[in-house]
Symmetry: C2
Subunit: 292 residues, 2 copies
């Protein structure tokens, strides 16, 4: 994975953070500020949290206002740009393009076809042509990455470890198809593979199948396994987990969650650990090489 | 795929057909009778259709009544057994084991762990130890297999063909993990992979994601692709499609359905073709080698 060397100090100029939903954008902003670098948040209307934004220098922009972003970010002196936070791939008719975006529209429509990797590469190129450098949140704030070992008290059993190994192998095999960063494996059986629906929706499906008796696996068994896609451009699409992932896994009756240490973003690790302890789930960071 | 040679004539004795839900069991029974062989239907309570059963010699049995099945099937002179029709993997507490099943219970519990392949192999072995020969529905009634080419009037476009190729390649890659006989691919993007939820549930998910604007693919694009697992014991778990599959694909806004000719069961091909024509969907049987 080759990435441009990033200047993490204040000399790199202020960091532009394009903010989707959830608490991750603020965790990144706080970490970057602690390192002495200024941040400017560009909040996506409908996704970013207005209350929490007030504590940071920020601008609002709607999806598709790329011209507005370029103008404001250049004026703020930003060159490095981080894109972080949840944002569901939008319906095209919900994007209100400004003039610059309109001119880019044929390319934008083209990159919305095909898988996520394709989308990421297209977006990266467009930013770079406009004088920006897309950097990964983990490059400017490595403290948001999942460490090796567990958050919270619970530990996986041998059976859980076997399920984790099967899940990682399946994610590795399906990775070239630019699909699925998450699977659920229970007692060596693959119960679900994530594609367009997202992790929360997949976990809700497991909960439903279990309640209706269509999954004959005892409660407290099974693992949610997440891993970055093999050829994924890690600069801005690492998989992430938060407290709501733990709650979803608990409702799905799973034993725990396993992610790849060092390439998974964890929002609020203390709250994740506390939530996992209450639900008696393990949350494990496995070593990268175990995933290959 | 090595299978025991089956005597398709009346000399093989009457054929026992263990019937799950849907119309497939009756399509098989009719085809076998047309060939001059007697059939005895063993209807699974809660799944098989009581009305349609009346036209055939039949017995009722609950799930787990393996002793009852053995006694009745031996008395009827049946040696060959076909298992066909929809039956969702049952919750273990819903099985009411009779004495013989109870004695087999530790093994049955063991084979319910792990993937479908594991389940199939275990069940096959148990039947064979009790003097039966599990045969594939397609071996006794080859007319129920999907032919090459289309049912109905619609034809796939070049873009659909590219989506089909991607879907088949993904199914091939995930096959060793004993998961998923179906995927949905639209504009080169994988929208869903089936695991424990079943095809109908997966199609309903696509319809929901589309309605909520979370899938930014135009309506009338995308293909449901189904294929037998590579190492699947084809004797009794071929993928199948019926008119309700076409209806589900239409609600999901897809362009069509592609399955592997010769290794997919089609219930009521005429009704499938008519339903597809009304919904303007294509239903295509692709050649086996295209799937590898």
């Amino acid at each position: 994975m080759s990435e441009p060397a990033v200047d993490h100090t204040a000399d790199g100029g202020p960091l532009a953070i394009i903010c989707g939903g959830g608490s991750l954008p603020f965790a990144v902003a706080d970490a970057v500020r602690k390192r002495g670098r200024r941040v400017v948040l560009f909040a996506i209307r409908g996704w970013a949290d207005p209350k929490r934004l007030e504590a940071y220098p920020h601008h609002w922009a709607a999806l598709g206002q790329f011209g507005t972003f370029c103008r404001l970010a250049h004026r703020e002196g930003c060159r490095d740009v981080v894109f972080i936070g949840s944002i569901v791939r939008p319906a095209i008719w919900r994007i209100r393009p400004d003039f610059k975006t309109l001119r880019l529209l044929p390319r934008v429509l083209g990159i919305f076809r095909g898988g996520d990797d394709h989308l990421l590469k297209g977006v990266t190129a467009i930013f770079e042509e406009h004088g920006f450098r897309l950097v990964g949140a983990h490059a400017v704030a490595p403290e948001i990455l999942m460490p090796e070992g567990t958050l919270g008290r619970e530990r996986p059993s041998d059976r859980d470890h076997a399920d984790i190994a099967k899940g990682l192998a399946l994610l590795n095999a399906s990775s070239p198809f630019d699909v699925g960063q998450a699977v659920v494996v229970a007692d060596a059986r693959v119960l679900a593979i994530e594609a367009a629906e997202g992790t929360d929706c997949m976990l809700a499906r497991i909960a439903e199948l279990r309640q209706s008796g269509r999954i004959a696996v005892a409660s407290g068994r099974g693992v949610l396994v997440k891993a970055a896609k093999r050829d994924q451009d890690r600069r801005f699409d690492l998989p992430s987990i938060g407290p709501q992932t733990v709650e979803g896994a608990a409702r799905a009756g799973l034993a725990g969650i396993a992610v790849v240490a060092g390439s998974t973003i964890v929002a609020e690790p203390e709250r994740i650990g506390a939530t996992a302890d209450r639900a008696r789930l393990f949350v494990l960071g496995v070593r990268e090489q175990a995933a290959e």
